[in-house]
Amino acid sequence: MSFLLQFCQWLQDTSVGTQIRESTLVFPVLEGSHLLGLALMMAPVMMYDLRLVGLLWRNIPVSTVKWQFLPITFAGFFLMVSTGVLLFWSEPIKCYNSVYFRVKVIFLIIAGLNALVFHSTIDKTTSQWDSMLPTPTRARLAGVCSLVTWTMVIFAGRYTAYNL
């Protein structure tokens, strides 16, 4: 038995996991919040990505779009991570065995790496291309990569819940 599976088994048997799993109200409320929280987190992400690609907010400097929307993203991200952790806690074994959940984790990692690379390289020079159109290729690539990977995260996330 692998370490990861052992960990999932242990997590599944904790009282918190069991209580969420067996509650008639907590699980649906968590899942509903996780679903509707998508709007709060993803809409501002989309605004920034689409500005990087050059499809929205073309007349507004990139840095302005970034700082108008990023705080909302953080609030949404906090909601998604806290509900997501509790949902995982309630059924770790199901997640462990689900191919879709593994796909979701992989795309989450890619999305994180994309953001990390973008913010530590091209984003640092934003002041030099703030109002430039088209935006630099690397910025457009980061925007497209973010849109695609987050779409895949949502796709795989929804499919995790089906017993296919």
Partner: protein
């Protein structure tokens, strides 16, 4: 609060839907329903997320450098496409199990909220979101709260269809 308990005279319509070739075609596959539902959720992210950003702006929560009209104008196309896709996929999901929808306690509230929300969005809310100043009057804030209640209510009722 279901169609079966409050509006039983609508039964022939649901029965007719259940007998159509479309309903039978969707029922005959296992992959159409999950795929349609996932696209339904992606459209939710675009539609609900875009409306949420306008609501937050009207309420004065973040995005303070843009006027409501700037945001609503920029996102108009995304809201229209989001609504179009969510209605088409929603119709397909309904056609997969019309009789289940007829008996479901969350389906009638969802449809009621949906028609109210669309009507509200293209009348009163359109007026509120055409404000082109940075400060918003109290009535516009009230419209934003009502918008949040209606659209998130649809989301909550929609998710509840699968639980009740």
């Amino acid at each position: 609060m279901s169609f079966s308990s409050l509006l039983p005279f609508t039964y022939p319509f649901f029965k007719w839907c259940d007998d159509t070739w479309l309903c039978n075609a969707i029922k005959a596959t296992t992959w159409v329903f999950p795929l349609t539902e996932t696209i339904h959720i992606l459209a939710l992210v675009v539609l609900l997320g875009s409306i949420l950003l306008v609501d937050l702006r009207l309420l004065g929560v973040g995005i303070r450098k843009f006027t409501p009209l700037q945001i609503a104008g920029e996102l108009r196309t995304y809201i229209s496409w989001g609504l179009g896709i969510i209605l088409v996929t929603g119709w397909l999901l309904f056609m997969a199990e019309p009789l289940k929808a007829y008996d479901n306690m969350a389906f009638l509230p969802k449809i009621t909220l949906l028609f109210s929300a669309i009507l509200f969005h293209y009348t009163i809310f359109r007026k509120a979101s055409s404000i082109n100043t940075l400060s918003t009057p109290i009535l516009a804030k009230f419209a934003a709260l009502l918008s949040l209640f209606l659209w998130f209510g649809i989301g909550v009722a929609g998710r509840a269809i699968g639980f009740v």
